[in-house]
Subunit: 343 residues, 3 copies
Amino acid sequence: MEFTANQIAGLVGGAVEGNPKVAVSTFAKIEEATPDAITFLANPKYTHYIYSTRAGIVLVRRDFVAEHPVSATLIRVDDPYETLSRLLDFAAQAMNPAPTGIEQPSFVAEGVKLPDDVYVGAFAYIGRGAKIGRGVKIYPQAYVGDGVEIGDGSIIYPGAKIYHGCRIGARCIIQAGAVIGADGFGFAPTADGSYHKIPQIGIVVIEDDVEIGANTTVDRATMGCTRICRGAKLDNLIQAAHNTEIGANTVIAAQTGVAGSAKIGAQCMIGGQVGFAGHITVGDHVNIGAQSGIPGNVPSGSILMGYPAVPARDFKRQAVYVKHLADLFDRVSKLEKASQNDK
Amino acid sequence: MEFTANQIAGLVGGAVEGNPKVAVSTFAKIEEATPDAITFLANPKYTHYIYSTRAGIVLVRRDFVAEHPVSATLIRVDDPYETLSRLLDFAAQAMNPAPTGIEQPSFVAEGVKLPDDVYVGAFAYIGRGAKIGRGVKIYPQAYVGDGVEIGDGSIIYPGAKIYHGCRIGARCIIQAGAVIGADGFGFAPTADGSYHKIPQIGIVVIEDDVEIGANTTVDRATMGCTRICRGAKLDNLIQAAHNTEIGANTVIAAQTGVAGSAKIGAQCMIGGQVGFAGHITVGDHVNIGAQSGIPGNVPSGSILMGYPAVPARDFKRQAVYVKHLADLFDRVSKLEKASQNDK
Amino acid sequence: MEFTANQIAGLVGGAVEGNPKVAVSTFAKIEEATPDAITFLANPKYTHYIYSTRAGIVLVRRDFVAEHPVSATLIRVDDPYETLSRLLDFAAQAMNPAPTGIEQPSFVAEGVKLPDDVYVGAFAYIGRGAKIGRGVKIYPQAYVGDGVEIGDGSIIYPGAKIYHGCRIGARCIIQAGAVIGADGFGFAPTADGSYHKIPQIGIVVIEDDVEIGANTTVDRATMGCTRICRGAKLDNLIQAAHNTEIGANTVIAAQTGVAGSAKIGAQCMIGGQVGFAGHITVGDHVNIGAQSGIPGNVPSGSILMGYPAVPARDFKRQAVYVKHLADLFDRVSKLEKASQNDK
């Protein structure tokens, strides 16, 4: 399927600059695009590519000013990334149509009612008392334990595991290999040095519009619930321990770990490989750099980095000072010699 | 089911203080409890909640002294956390009865004998020559490779994978998505810059009473065995490389990595996201803070933190000194100026 | 099966020193070997074990000079580790013969052609339009999505998941629980603080001779492809984000994370738990120490360590300076007092 610049501009409410008849049939990154592709420019780091790109069409901001000639046709829009995203939505649905129906063999416990429009892949398991919403897609080899509830329109990708009693909201996406509701890590020491397992009788509640990345683990609560709030997005290989809470619309990059009972606020941006200590409270709109260690409470609006974390601007200065430590030791030695000589 | 304070105190050997007839039917955390719930107070950080909790009953230490009025009925016990744990055991068994029987379809290789009291979930796979103990539960989509042995009473949660020849002790718990016995990471460089895979012909031995967290990986040995000793507890997303050994009753938090051939002693407490270099030896009763990096051998009884790790008290001091480096550079500059002026 | 030192030396082109008739039937590490075992000495750290090992035969370098008496029979070869590896290859094939045939129940979509010599384990899923090469082994509970291509001789271990449209080369090994082609982590913020998911319409391309570790995740590209180049070896629990590229013969240890659109060159050696920022370029033959943080571009041939990373020799010096900071603060205080007294 081909679309002209004119057709696309009409669809997305943009203004064409260049040849309105140029047609594209695919998407590409600006530095790799071929003439049959549409691309976009959002990150200023990539601006220089617009002068050399071979793309047929480039989505740019309405206020973009070219400093050199551009051979591609431009479509000016308010937000090129968001516009591209909408175009990709159309394309994704055309390229990879959503599966439907019940593949065999699959296991659906007696008494579970499946709405007409669900997908259940082969080797998927749905336990006793599970409640499955409209349009839910449960891919092959996924596990939905006894009493699990899954809201309308959610997608459970291959091999994701949801333990008994956990609740998944509407329009959630659980990527492959994610484990929701495994036992929290709780043990009581005994007199002989061994540990007694604390039963974990709580659950995990994942609210609406949450995405959980591949092989991420969200443990069930000891009591009560571990909660991932509305709109939060968790990348791959993240650990959310028992009784943690991740606030609404908070975004967490891969391999970050949140220890038991820590609460992270809403609208935070958390980098990859960050570690949060247990039993702490992190406010809203907090921004934390990759690989940071967060040992204590964090006020709303903080921008932190480092191990242990400090305000991000201090972290960068500290790194510079540490680099010049050799020099400082030398300077102090010279002062000491001078001071000796004075006596 | 409801239980009165009097009934619970009798069951756990505690002393009631308050209304012995107050009845509860659920568990809750102290800050979230409702009047129908029993809770506990163990961590001193949470003491202030006892004056405002709505819980019907609170388990407290025998020597707890209230500094303000408490409306809940108290039950005084030696160890509130351990007591709660025992009560949770009763409740967990009542709430989520253990499954039994062989669900279909499942795959059990010819010649494998299953004791009468095992559970094998749908889509579980049990390979040739596997030996399965009494009361073992193998949940749906779990994989038990050829020749694997699993001791009495162990639980293999959904989708856990145990490669051929590995041995799991009695009363072990392997959470969902854990991978036991994948190939160790061993490659020999060749003249053309590519790598030749070293076959990994060893196994993994997991001794009795071990718990392995969700999506944790324990690699098989190149030769011999990778060993997780009796009573060790590994949290989620941990990497234990080929030929490592984790000592008895050692507890390791999530996302820690142990490189090839490292040996960690018994009764250690290891934080999350810690990294151990390969071929090192860590003694017994070692305590390591989260996100530390351990480049070399560690004597028994050490308490370490940092990257690279130092004694924990030094780590905290170092962080303070680093924070004041800007100030120190200023002070040295002033001394230098003063020294110049003296001449 | 037993083999004499003479037979083994003939097989591997080595020179026997000691009793050519001594026979072995197993492999072992030098410090654990019994008289029926062959072992090897490559790492100089282990040299002292050769004087006490109980092994029947030890593979050593041709130029090895014993400083004390050695009771084992030696076989001198060019590269003991590589020679051992070849012997292990023979043994591994004898001990754990490759499975073949199609186990039931498995799911093979209509129209998919399977070569005669493949293995498809029970509960494996092969989607519509998938292309499976000769000798491919797809273990139980593995998922091969619609349109996936797998080259000749590749092995997909139990429960590995390959999303639709991804391409795996020849002779690749995908360990259990690895997830190839889950959605990249891309979201566009909207005016109300929530995020709009960017559809991820690209794929993952894994070239020939690549190994992907257990529970490692390689995300599909937003557009275009995420690429793991020929001969690269990824350990367990690694995150390779959307649109990353890992160069040929690059080796990455466990739990490292590579953020979106980062490019790592060829022949690099990357330690465990390293973090790479997004959109950066790392050259060829780069060596990065465990737990390092790489915030920016890295020239070819660099040897880095630390957070943030610096040249490895500087990292070690910095750690020493930081250890002596308390001392430096004291020295400066003394100088200040002396300077006061002078006035």
